[in-house]
Each structure stands twice: as C-alpha cells, then as structure tokens.
Symmetry: C2
Subunit: 661 residues, 2 copies
C-alpha cells in the first residue's frame, strides 16, 4: 500500500472524532428557556452572517473560476486548478461552517455545565473548539490527499488552486468577520457602557447579540479559515518544493503530508490530557502533550522513512518558533507581566500617555517573533534547503488540531460568560464562566501570535516556492536586490499592509458609527431602559452583517488584484512585492495585535483594583486605549495574516500567466 | 582650470552670503529689555544643550576614530577615512552651531520687526533660516570638494568617512534634539496648560524657556544636521557610482558636485523672490523659483558638458519626487484639507475615535510618497542606471539652500510668537507673529515630508553604491532574494525602525515625566502662580538637556553596531538588512510624521471654533491626539531618517572589514 494513504486516513479519523464531539456537545442540556433563547439568537445571527457572506463569496468564486479557465486556455496553467480552487473554497467554508455551528450551540451548554463544576464547563467549551480544530485539519489534509491520489506528483502544481480557494474564504472570513465583530462590540459598548452606563452583556442592549455573534464570526470562523489556509498552504509548498528540488526520491512529495498526519494523531491523543482542576493548566498540558508526542512520532517516521534526520530538525525548528512566538505574545500582553502593567501605570497621567506606552510596547514586541522566525528560517534552510523552510512551517502547524481547539475554546467561554450574565444564572456560575473566559483571553492572545507567526513562515515558504518554480520554468530574471524593479516592488509591497490596515481600521469606524446610531435610536424610540419596549436584536445583527460585508470588498479585491498586476508588469518586482509585504505585514500584524492585547489587559489590570480601579481617572484613560486597541488586534492585525499568504498563493497560481506575457 | 572648482566656489559664495545675513540679522533691533532677556534665555539654553551634546559626541568621535584606524591597519580601509570622518563631523556640527546661534538671536528681532509690518518679521525670520540653509550646503559642498581636490577620483572611497561623520552628528542631533524638544513641550503643557490652566508660553511656566529652546534644538539643529547628511551622502554616492561604473569619462565623478553647485546658485538667486504680502506665497515663490532656475541651469550644463540629457532627466525625476512628497504631506496634514478635518470630526465621539482616525490617516498617507519614490527610482535607473538613482537624490536635494531656509524659518517664527506673548507686545503684534508661525507650521510639515523622502532616496542610492562597490571588489555573494540569509536580514532590518521608534517614544515619556515633576515642584515650592516666587528656567533647561542626552545613547549605539555585526556575519544578510530597514523606516517615518501632523492640525481646526471650539468635548479629545502625535512627528519619525542613512553609510565605511573576514 502507498504510505501516502496514512494522510487521508488521518483526515477521516479526525472528521469521525469531530462528528463524535458534535454528538457529545449536542446531547448536553441547554439550560433554562432564557439560556436557550439567547443561544438561539446568537446561533441564528452567526448563520445569517455566514449565509450573506457566502452569497458574496459565490460571486467572487465564480468570477475567479472564469478568470482561471480563460488563463488555462491561453497559458500553461493546468485547467484542474479551477477545480482545486473550488474544492479549496468549499472545504474551508465547510470547516468554518461546522465549527461555527457547534460553537454557537455550545455556549449555553457550557454555561449550563458550569453549574456542576468549572471543569464541566471547560470540557464542553473545549470539545466544541476541538470540533473546529479537527474539522480544519481533517478537511485540510483530506482535500490535499484527494488531489495527490488523483494526480500523483503533478498534484503539486494543481494544488496551488486549492490553497487559493482556501485563501479566498479566509480573506472574506477574516476581513468581514473582523469588521463585524468590532463594529458590533464598539457599538454595544459606546452606547451601552459609556453613554447609558448599563453593564456589558446587558440583555437590554440591542447590540448585545450582535456583539456575541461577532465573537464567533471573528474568532471562530475567521481564525479557523486563517489557519486552514496556513495549514494547507504549508503542506502544498512542501509538496511543491519536494517535487521541484527532487529531494528524498519518491518520498519528497508525500513526506509533508505524512508529517501533517502525524500531527493529527498527536493532537487526537493529546486531547485526553485536557483535564485538570485549573483550566489553564489543562489546556497547556494538551498543547505541550501534543507537541511532545508529535516530536517523537516525527523523529521515528523521518528516521525510518528517509534515513536522514535533517528534515526532522527543520520541523523541530518550526515547532520551536511557534512556541517562542506564543510565549513572547503572552509576555507582552498578559496583565500579569510588566508591559501591560506599565501601560496601566501610564494611564494615571491620562489617555495620551496610555496610548504612547501601548504604541511603544507594541513596536518593541516585534523583536522576539521576528528574530525567532528569521533564525528558524535560516536554520531550516541549513538543515534541508528550501524544502526545510516549508517543513518548518508544517512543523509549526502540525499540532493545529489541538491548538486551534484551544483558540476556539475562547469565544465559546466568552459567550458562556455572556449568557450567564444575560440569563441571570447568579454570582457563582458567573464567576466560574468568567474564569473560563479569562483563560480564553490568554489562549486567544497566544493563538493570535501563533496565527501571525505561522502566516509569516508559510508566506516565506510560498515565496521560495514561487522563486524556485519560476527558476524551474527557466525564467530569466534578476532576482537580486540590485534590481531597481525588485526594490520598487519591495517598497510598494511594504506599503500594502499599511494601506490594508488603514482601510480595515476605517471600515470598523464607519460600520461602528451605523451601529451606534441604531442602538441610540432603539433606546430612544422603544424606551427600552424605561422598561417599556424590547430591543430588536435582529436589526443590529443585520446592520453589522451588511456593514461588514460592504466594507470587506475593497481591501479584499486589492489583495487579489495588486499581485496579478505587478506580476504581469515584471516578475522580479512581484518577488520584491511579496517579500516586502511579508516583512511589513508580519511586523505590523504583531505590532497591532500586541498593542491591542496589552491595552486590553492594562484596562483589566486597573479593573482588578489597581491605580484606582473601575471608574477612576486611570480607568477612563485605559478605556480609551482599549477602544483604540480593539480594531487593531481583532480586525486589522489578523487581516494582515491573510494578505501576505494570499498574495503569495495568487502569484503562484498565476505564474504561468506572467511567463506567457 | 578644472571645472570642478565651481563646486568649492559655490560653497564659498554660499558661506559669504550666510555671513552677510548673520550681519544683517544681528544689526536688527532686539526690542524691549524683556524681549532681549527672554531671547537671551533661549539663546543660552540652546547653546548649553549643544555644549553638553558635543561632550558626548566627542567621546563617540574619538572611539570611532580609534576603531577606524584599527580597521585601516588590518584591512584595505584607507586610513584617510578617519580624517574624513572627523571633518564630516566637525563641518556638520559647525553648520548646526551657526544655524542655531543665529536662529536663537533672530527670534526677538523678528518679533520686533513685526511691529512695523508682517513682511518685516518674515524677512528677519527667513534670513536667519537662510543662514542655516546656506551654511549647510556651503559647508557640505566645501567639505566634499576639499577631499576631491586632495585625493582626486580616489576621494570617492574616502568620502564615505565624511558621510559617516555627518551621519553621527545628525544621529545625536535628531535623536537627542527630538527627545529634548518633546519632553520640554509635554512637560510645559501637561502642568501649565492642563493642570494649572495658564496659557501656552506663559512666562510663569518654568519649562517655557526649555520648550522654546526645544524648538530650536529639534527643528533647527536636528533638521539641519539631518539634511546636511542627506545632502553630502547623495553627492558622495553619486561620485562613488560615477567612479565604479566609469560613466561619462572624466566627468562622471565631478558631475554630481557640479549639479549641487548649480543648486546653490539657484537657491541664492531665488532668495530675492521671498517677498510678498502673504508670507506663504513669498516662501512658495522662493521654492518654486529656485527649482525652475535650477532645472534650466542643469539642462544647459548637462547638455554642454555631457552631451547627453539622460542624467538631467534623472535629476528632474528626483526634483519631481520631492515636490510630490511635499504636496502629499501638505494634503494629509493641513487643517484646510479633508483628512485633518475628518480627524477633528472623529474627536466629537471621543479620544479613541480621534486616535483611530489619525492612525488610519497616517497609514494611508504612505501611499503617494512610496509610489512616487519607487517610480522615481525606476525611472532614474532607466535614464542613467544606478548613477541615475544617486542623481535623483541629488536633484531632490539640489535646492536645499532655500528649502532648508524655509524649514528653519518655522521655529524662529514660533519663538517670535512665543516672545510676543511672554513680553506682552499686545494683540496686533501677537496676531502678526502668530500668522507667521502658522505659515511656519505648514512649511515645517512639508519640510518633514521632504526630509523623509530625501532620506529614503539617499539611502537607496547608498545601498546600490554598497552593492556595486562590493561587486567591484569581486565579492561573491548571493544577492538574490532566494538567499535565506538575505531574507533573514530583510526581516531583521524591517524590525529595526520599530525598535528604534519604540525606544525613542519611551525616551520622551521618561524624560517628560522628570520635567513634569520639576514644574510641579517649582509651582508648589516657589509659589509662582501666587505671584510670590520666580520660575527657575535654567533648572528645566538642564533637566531637558540631561534627559535627552542620556536617552539618546542606547538607540544611537544600536544604529551603529547592528549593521557592523550583521555585516561581519554575512554581507548578503547586511544588504537585506539595509533594504528592509529603508523600506519600513521610510514607511514608519511617514506614518508617524503625518499622523502626528494631522492630529496637531485637527486640534487647531477645532480651536478655530469648529465642532465646539476650545474647551469642548471634541477639543479635549483632540488634545489627546495632539499629545500622542507630538513625539511621533517630532522625535520618532525624524530619527528614522537618520537610522536608514546611517546604517547604509556605516556599511559602506566598513565594507573592507566585512570582506577581510
């Protein structure tokens, strides 16, 4: 039997497990009528957003398929690329859909389970996160495997379409989801908390459901699609480089898939470790357990199969890079560490010093991830050439099954805490769910760092794949930095993340304004706070949906069109563009995510009673920082992950077009 | 006679003119005793800062000379490089010293001249700015010429030392000056305006003199040293590329100097145009006049001398790039344009939305400068190869004599307005000087954009010089983007501007805190506001001086040491580092400068009576934005100009070291 069959088998097993967890979570009691009602609102709101989003994506997908088919007709682009594109888009959407369905079903169930014990709530929330994690890796590897078994080694050329499909979904999910979540959040907070002085998650706030939907849309569907993209892109670039560089004979192409399969097995085994009194310890045990099991499996398989441990070392380097970036993120954003506390301290002299300290912290926090990734790239190259760089990306993403489960646990716990508040489950339950939520915030911050890091290393692997593929096609180009075209591309590429961030920041502002007006209108016209009328949640959900989808189109098109235009002009300029965009995209993403996270936790630190506590002068200043940081860390920052990967994969897909011109 | 003699002659003429203007300004009446007293405080404070700064710089210069001599002993580095280094440092310091002496003498005189008419005040302020402008270009070209006439074509190899010397002064002047000006400004404002509710420039505020000194230290000395560096670096890189590429026979090396000389003549002639009822029109006429005269002269000389107009076109491209960047800066920061007004509008919903809108505006404002510079680089290359890129830089900086005069006019007008306020010259004089100041703000913003743009194109010319020189020395290196070492360098280089900005932002915060405490102490202990005691200006000046000088050391050393360490490791990594640092340095500098400028002018727009005017909710929010923007635009942003040029010139100087290892 072809050893490659292990890959689809691992995918199927992951999906079977995901199915079992869906069953397990669905069977859990949903609690009181009120809880059920709120959960249903969120569930329906989230699905309504997905449905509208799919409509826009369908138009995009059809347009791209037409363009791909025309390109295939006139150039050497294999026509199967369009099929791969559609399958990639459908698989990514499917994974996101499954994950979001179960996440929005699990929230009330996690709150209900918390009535018994905190670990009960943890199990439900984590299980629903695991559905997302396993769906992503299962569908990801299954999709890649299908093409591998149908087209053999040639699949490596077709699969870029698969990556492109996954990227497209990720783009809309991240940008649209990011705009949705923050416009709802800011709208709910500015009118509810600030103007009317009612608590967060107060059911009288018309935007409260949209806010909870947003957590799922942004942090579950957006994050899932983002990492689905990284996951499949890293495997595809490994397969492609294995083919181009003809390494390890017949195993060069299949080895990346096998490594990914080992990661899936490790994640599945490690999921049993996720049980401990302390939820943070539980999740950490799971993550570390998976990494250790994976390292052992990868060592054994690499040694037996390739009889050369260098690829294993490259994988290990990627794994280590991911851990270092996660720890660095944790240090720079946690409210138990110096940086966030210094930001809180600076809030004592006002909003301006609070903002400046946050900006400075965010900028400084780029050092460790950048150096770690640069070193990882060089080491991986030393171990196994460009193939090694792709393996490092695969290594970092190998245990995605469980790490994504940990990420997606966060929004479920957040929603559970919200439901406890809205359904008035009483002090103790609320405390338990809030503690689960707090752990979720930490894992979410680390997950964000991990998502950025994996996007950067994946983008690097894709750029190298692009160059090697262009070389293999005998294209003469001056890839040297002495080419002014390449340098011009570098400058313009470096600029794109700035423009992209400016657009997404502006989008949140515009969408939030509409939400603010709507919430104000409802409070006034329906006399909700006077106890006379009821809030119209659905209207707010519709406004958030419409705003997000309208605003996501311009930045999204930019990301797809620019590389094609530049590539048609000059390939070396395109290479410069990709390198520049990856470098500044990586930097800006970390800066925005960590500054935002640190402002958020500085505020939380003050709310714990430091520097005057809630309502103090420092607290008001910290709220300004938190509001500034929100769209930075949840919209603009994460969207950059997609930008850098998408531009690389688009370049790879359209390479035959650039050549033929 | 060697045609090259035109260069030192132009330099001497510029210096003679500068001397005449010094005489002219000094002869103007200084006004009342009170005005004289305040002006003297500022003058002495500024010189005290320079003196302390020189002490630190001396240590640095001696250390570098020792390192250079050791390197010369063991490698092929010409030992004359150390001489060039010292001369470059001394000339830059001299230009800064002259400019600052006269600027701090001219402030009261400009206020006094405004008693007669606004154009009287304009003439005095502009004349003192012209002293700085002409000193910079005069000493710059004279220094380069001396080496050219002593060492002939070989000067091109020695002159990197001259550039390094100029860079070193610029580094300390920009970083130290930037920290000084903003710590004094924030200290004066936070306690005076915000806490005690006394007007800006109130003589009872102990930090008011330090604040006025800061304007000169930062915007005169810092800006002058920055542009001195760009000016000489661009000429040096042109000469070096002329030598390496052996273009235009015997004229290849001398042509860049000639072009610079033409620029000096044009600036001198155009200075007579600086007279009109409206000060803005007057300054603009001067700038455009100089550009037109220069273009005509350059056309004629190029045609007659080289019989090939391509170098002229490259120069023109650079000139156009500078104009475009200036206009773009004006658009994104002026309070008469949409972006700043939208930021003011966003202030109505609070500080957070004001900050977000400013961040978004700053990011978006990178588009035009980046594209213009990328296009200019490609066109200049098409016209005259790498030599053309250096010529574009020279073209952009050709009319520096007058454009720097316009920049340095700003702080003099600002000080004049301050003195009018402090010496109670009455409503009308204050209005006149404030109008002069307002024009100064616009020219200062455009000057900032110009300084950034010229730094970027100069850095590009230096990078190409570095690569070509390395190639000429037969170094084998993989300069392709497929080198993971180069890519790692690119990432780490891209990170440096973020770290540098984080350090300088943090430095301002720490230094400002000390100032705040001192001002609070004086108000309390001396009972100044109760009319009992007098403020101790000198103590505040000392605190600002000490704080700035202490804080400038770490970022400065970083900028010098990192390229040397990376270069010793791997030259291709260094090339990546330089390219990455230039790209993100350029981007971040524009982002920080324009966001800061736009916040500043959004506040001014509100103060004009819009959105509630002074004291309104929107105004309070806009003050937060302005305070955040202050160190962004006056410290961190401008310091990046130096960082990117300095790292390139350091690499060029130490290239023989990297080779020999």
């Amino acid at each position: 039997m072809d050893i490659g069959y292990i890959a689809p088998i691992s995918g199927l097993i992951a999906l079977v497990f995901a199915g079992a967890l869906v069953y397990y979570v669905s069977k859990k009691p949903q609690g009181t009528q009120k809880m059920k009602e709120i959960s249903d609102y969120i569930h329906r709101g989230a699905l309504a957003f997905l449905k509208e989003e799919y409509k826009i994506i369908s138009v995009f997908v059809v347009a791209v398929v037409i363009i791909l088919l025309i390109t295939s007709y006139f150039t050497d682009l294999p026509w199967e690329t369009s099929i791969a594109f559609v399958v990639g888009a459908v698989f990514s959407a499917l994974a996101g859909n499954i994950g979001m369905r179960i996440a929005t079903k699990a929230n009330a169930r996690a709150a209900e389970a918390s009535k018994k014990s905190m670990s009960g709530g943890l199990t439900v929330a984590f299980s629903s996160g695991a559905v997302m994690g396993l769906s992503v890796v299962g569908l990801g590897i299954l999709g890649v495997s299908i093409f591998y078994f149908v087209y053999g080694s040639n699949a490596a050329n077709i699969l870029f379409g698969f990556g492109f499909g996954a990227s497209s979904i990720a783009l809309f999910a991240r940008v649209g989801g990011g705009i949705y979540t923050k416009s709802a959040d800011i709208g709910a907070d500015l009118v509810g908390k600030v103007e009317e002085n009612i608590p967060e998650d107060d059911p009288r706030n018309p935007a409260v459901i949209a806010d909870n939907v947003g957590d799922n849309v942004g942090d579950v569907a957006g994050m899932g699609a983002d990492l689905f993209e990284s996951y499949v892109d890293s495997i595809i670039s490994g397969m492609s480089l294995g083919l181009i560089l003809s390494v390890f004979g017949k195993y060069g192409v299949v080895y990346p898939m096998l490594v990914a399969a080992l990661g899936i097995f490790s994640s599945l085994v490690a999921m049993v470790f996720v049980r401990a009194k302390n939820p943070y310890t539980a999740l950490r045990n799971g993550l570390f357990g998976a990494s250790i099991i994976f390292a052992v499996l990868a060592f054994v398989v690499t040694y037996l199969l390739l009889n050369d441990l260098n690829p294993f070392y490259a994988i290990l380097v990627g794994l280590a890079d991911g851990v270092i970036i996660g720890l660095s993120t944790e240090y720079f954003t946690s409210h138990q560490r110096k940086p966030a506390r210094k930001i809180a301290e600076a809030a004592q002299t006002g909003a301006a010093t609070n903002i400046l300290e946050g900006l400075s912290t965010g900028m400084l926090s780029t050092v460790i991830p950048i150096i770690a990734t640069a070193v990882a790239m060089v080491l991986a190259f030393e171990f196994a050439n460009f193939y090694g760089v792709a393996l490092a990306a695969i290594g970092m993403l190998s245990t995605l099954g469980i790490s994504l489960a940990t990420d997606c646990y966060g929004p479920v716990a957040d929603n559970a805490a919200g439901i406890s508040e809205m359904a008035e489950l009483g002090e103790e339950i609320r405390k338990r769910t809030e503690e689960l939520d707090a752990v979720g915030n930490t894992t979410a911050a680390m997950g964000k760092g991990f998502a950025i890091g994996s996007a950067a290393i994946t983008a690097l692997a894709l750029i190298f794949t692009f160059v090697k593929r262009a070389e293999a096609l005998n294209i003469t180009m001056n890839m040297s930095l002495t080419s002014p075209y390449l340098m011009a591309g570098l400058f313009i590429g470096g600029m794109l993340p700035f423009v992209f961030s400016a657009l997404t920041l502006g989008a949140v502002g515009r969408a939030a304004e509409k939400m603010v007006n709507e919430v104000r209108r409802q409070f006034k016209e329906y006399k909700i706070l006077e106890g006379k009328g009821k809030p119209d949640y659905e209207r707010c959900v519709r406004i958030a949906t419409k705003g997000a989808l309208r605003e996501m189109i311009l930045p999204s098109l930019l990301a797809v069109i620019v590389p094609v235009v530049v590539g048609v002009w000059k390939i070396e300029a395109l290479v410069g563009l990709l390198a520049g965009a990856t470098a500044t995209g990586f930097l800006l993403a970390i800066f925005l995510a960590n500054a935002g996270g640190a402002w958020d936790n500085a505020k939380k630190y003050i709310e714990e009673g430091n520097f005057g506590g809630k309502g103090s002068f420092a607290h008001k200043a910290a709220v300004v920082g938190d509001t500034v940081g929100d769209p930075c860390k949840d919209t603009s920052g994460p969207s950059l992950n997609i930008l850098i990967k998408l531009m690389s994969i688009v370049s790879l897909v359209f390479l035959p077009l650039f050549i033929s011109i």
